[in-house]
């Protein structure tokens, strides 16, 4: 059995005391990051990357630490959703729909434990799915040439826009902005400077970490200054915590179904965890019917989105690791981490660096168990995190971002660029233009161009080459469908509004 020997290899790495300690630390930090209102998995992981880099951790350790943070933040996000009615980030939005009403009804402890358990089921099943599906996909991906890769990148951009945003044009614009920024700097194949405006600082291009931290972390500060932190209302007190066995038993099928839906949503490039929790919630709501009482604080309404979003988080790792195409904002950030560590994700990763992949998978399995322990008996500890006031938290996050980016290059120019991205992010978010495609564009731009140029070199400039294989044609069809279909489906898939007091 290939799988078992690979897993054995993975566990031999993950169970070393050092890696294990990193996983535990990562889970702990991640849960805190997820729980803090205004800090989600994407910006949490983003501000930590430069720091990880400066510690000089090796590839496996850095990856284990950051994915533990990622999983942890997915768990932690539910705490502020349930207690404060403030989703830490987009995927946690669906959890507020039933989580907050349940907490208001005096069952905050039950809601937290149930959602923690649902998170565990979703994440655990998704990790198993990752283990089974990723090597298969890697086998297929070996056959991809530049034409297929170009179509795949295109697909990622169009589906990302189609599914995740309210307005296709704006999502497409966001991707184009990202791609345009990615072109700045020295040309990969000729070594000539492009679009630098003569500035020597831009010869190396725009570092994606600068853009990520600017768009995610600095933008957040501006929003808090605008609102004076007023949205961070005092939440609900947590009285006592016990395990609601009855609710867990009653929601077992919900958890399994939601995990499955979430995983599939996560695997699709460009869809991600928001879609996972959304679809899981909506399908459970449809199965339960109007008598199910969704939206009034029922157990299934909490279990479904939490299992769904954590399963999607695991599923999103599949295309990220095997194809180098991330399925969500946070996996885009993890892809940035891999690139910083000089690891090129893709099918070759599985054959050339098995210790990285399987060490990661084993760590995820361990991290899940650790997170279950942290998030059920110790949930009280993390609830205290919510009492950190925003006027301490946000300046702190900003300063950490500055130190992180400054430690990367030691240049004030990157810091200015980061502030610029922060300001840009403010306007983009105000105008409902998604920022994740911008990041993805910056990350994948040069790869996408390289794929196109190599395809043209191979074919001697014949454009028909781009449509020469069934796989490539399939990607093109899905890419076009991803762009066009949501225009017609928009009316049917309205996102439910947040519960208001």
């Amino acid at each position: 059995m290939d799988l078992l020997s690979n897993l054995a290899l993975g566990f031999s790495i993950a169970l070393s005391p050092y890696t294990l300690a990193l996983a535990v630390i990562g889970c702990f930090i991640g849960t805190i990051i997820g729980a803090l209102p205004g800090l989600g998995p994407s910006n949490g992981v983003a501000i930590l990357i430069p720091l990880t880099f400066t510690f000089g951790l090796d590839a496996t350790s850095a990856l284990v630490l950051m994915t533990a943070v990622y999983y942890g933040a997915m768990y932690g996000g539910r705490i502020s959703s349930i207690l404060l009615n403030i989703p830490g980030d987009e995927p946690a939005l669906m959890t507020t729909l039933d989580g907050y009403p349940m907490a208001k009804a005096g069952r905050a402890g039950d809601a937290l434990v149930l959602s923690g358990f649902a998170s565990f089921v979703g994440a655990f099943l998704a990790t198993i799915g990752l283990m089974l599906l990723a090597p298969l996909l890697a086998q297929v991906a070996f056959k991809f040439g530049p034409a297929e890769y170009f179509a795949l990148y295109l697909l990622a951009f169009t589906t990302l826009g189609g599914v995740a945003s309210n307005n296709q044009i704006k999502a497409l614009l966001a991707s184009a902005i990202g791609l345009a920024i990615a072109m700045i700097g020295l040309d990969n194949s000729t070594g000539q400077p492009r679009l630098t405006g003569g500035s020597l600082h831009l010869y190396d291009g725009v570092d994606f970490l600068v853009a990520i931290v600017g768009l995610f972390a600095i933008t957040e500060v501006f929003f808090f200054i605008e609102s004076h932190g007023k949205n961070t209302s005092i939440g609900i007190r947590l009285e006592r915590v016990r395990i609601p066995w009855r609710d867990i038993g009653a929601t077992r099928w919900t958890m399994l179904r939601s995990s499955f839906i979430g995983f599939i949503a996560g695997v699709l490039p460009g869809a991600g965890a928001s879609l996972g929790s959304f679809l899981a919630y909506m399908s459970e709501k449809a199965i339960a019917g109007p008598k199910g009482g969704f939206g009034t604080g029922v157990a299934k309404g909490i279990a479904a989105p939490e299992a769904g979003n954590n399963a999607a988080a695991g599923g999103a790792l599949v295309p990220m690791l095997t194809l180098g195409v991330p399925g969500s904002g946070t996996t885009a950030v993890l892809l940035a981490l891999l690139m910083t560590l000089n690891i090129t994700p893709g099918p070759t990763l599985f054959s050339e660096r098995p210790e990285v992949v399987w060490g990661l998978i084993a760590s995820l399995l361990i991290a899940n168990v650790v997170l279950l322990i942290m998030n059920v008996p110790l949930v009280r500890l993390f609830v205290h995190v919510l009492s950190v006031p925003p006027w301490v938290l946000l300046p702190g996050v900003t300063m950490i971002s500055f130190v992180g980016i400054y430690s990367l290059s030691g240049s004030y120019f990157d810091l200015l660029l980061m502030v610029g991205f922060g300001a840009l992010g403010y306007f983009l978010r105000k105008l409902d233009i998604p920022t994740v495609p911008v990041i993805l564009g910056i990350l994948l731009g040069s790869h996408m161009e390289d794929a196109l140029r190599r395809a043209m070199v191979l074919s001697g400039g014949d454009w028909k080459y781009l449509f020469s294989s069934p796989i490539a044609i399939g990607f093109w069809v899905v890419a076009v469908a991803g762009l066009v279909a949501p225009i017609f489906l928009r009316g049917k898939f309205r996102k439910p509004q947040r519960v208001t007091d």
Binding site: I169, L173, T190, V221, P389, P395, G396, V419
Partner: protein, 146 residues
């Protein structure tokens, strides 16, 4: 409505400037059927089209803050830019205390808590970064100690 139209116009202008910039890219002598200009042209064109479409089919306006808030946001940007310039010559402690204090005051206008936040974050982060995480931070810059 008007917000999207203005932004669409800005995007279109920037995209055209981008395409104009791309015409100046030097081509190589190596055989490369696509060349270094085509992809930037394509991206610029997509941007320009999206900008134009935003002008034609704008979404409803978001809720913009009032003038005072905009001034406050502009001031925050200025503080961060100043912080970026000050970090190297003045070292970590003093610029951090000032910048985080100001940001804290802007989120929650109480002098007392802002001063405490500034001092606390400056000292706390310095100790954490320098001694727990081992980053090479400088407490006071050359401009101060000479």
């Amino acid at each position: 409505m008007i917000s999207d139209r203005i932004f669409g116009l800005v995007v279109t202008v920037v995209a055209l400037a981008y395409i104009a910039g791309a015409t100046q890219i030097q081509l190589s002598f190596l055989p490369d059927p696509l060349g270094a200009r085509t992809f930037p042209y394509g991206v610029g064109a997509v941007m320009a089209i999206c900008g134009a479409l935003m002008m034609l089919r704008p979404d409803p306006d978001p809720e913009w803050p009032g003038l005072t808030t905009f001034i406050a946001l502009g001031f925050a940007v200025a503080v961060l830019v100043g912080y970026a310039y000050a970090l190297k010559p003045l070292g970590f402690l003093i610029p951090t205390a000032i910048a985080s204090g100001i940001l804290s005051y802007q989120i929650h206008p109480r002098v007392h808590s802002a001063v405490l936040t500034g001092l606390g974050l400056s000292a706390g982060l310095f100790l954490t970064f320098k001694y727990v995480l081992g980053l090479g931070l400088v407490a006071f810059g050359r401009a101060l100690i000479g």
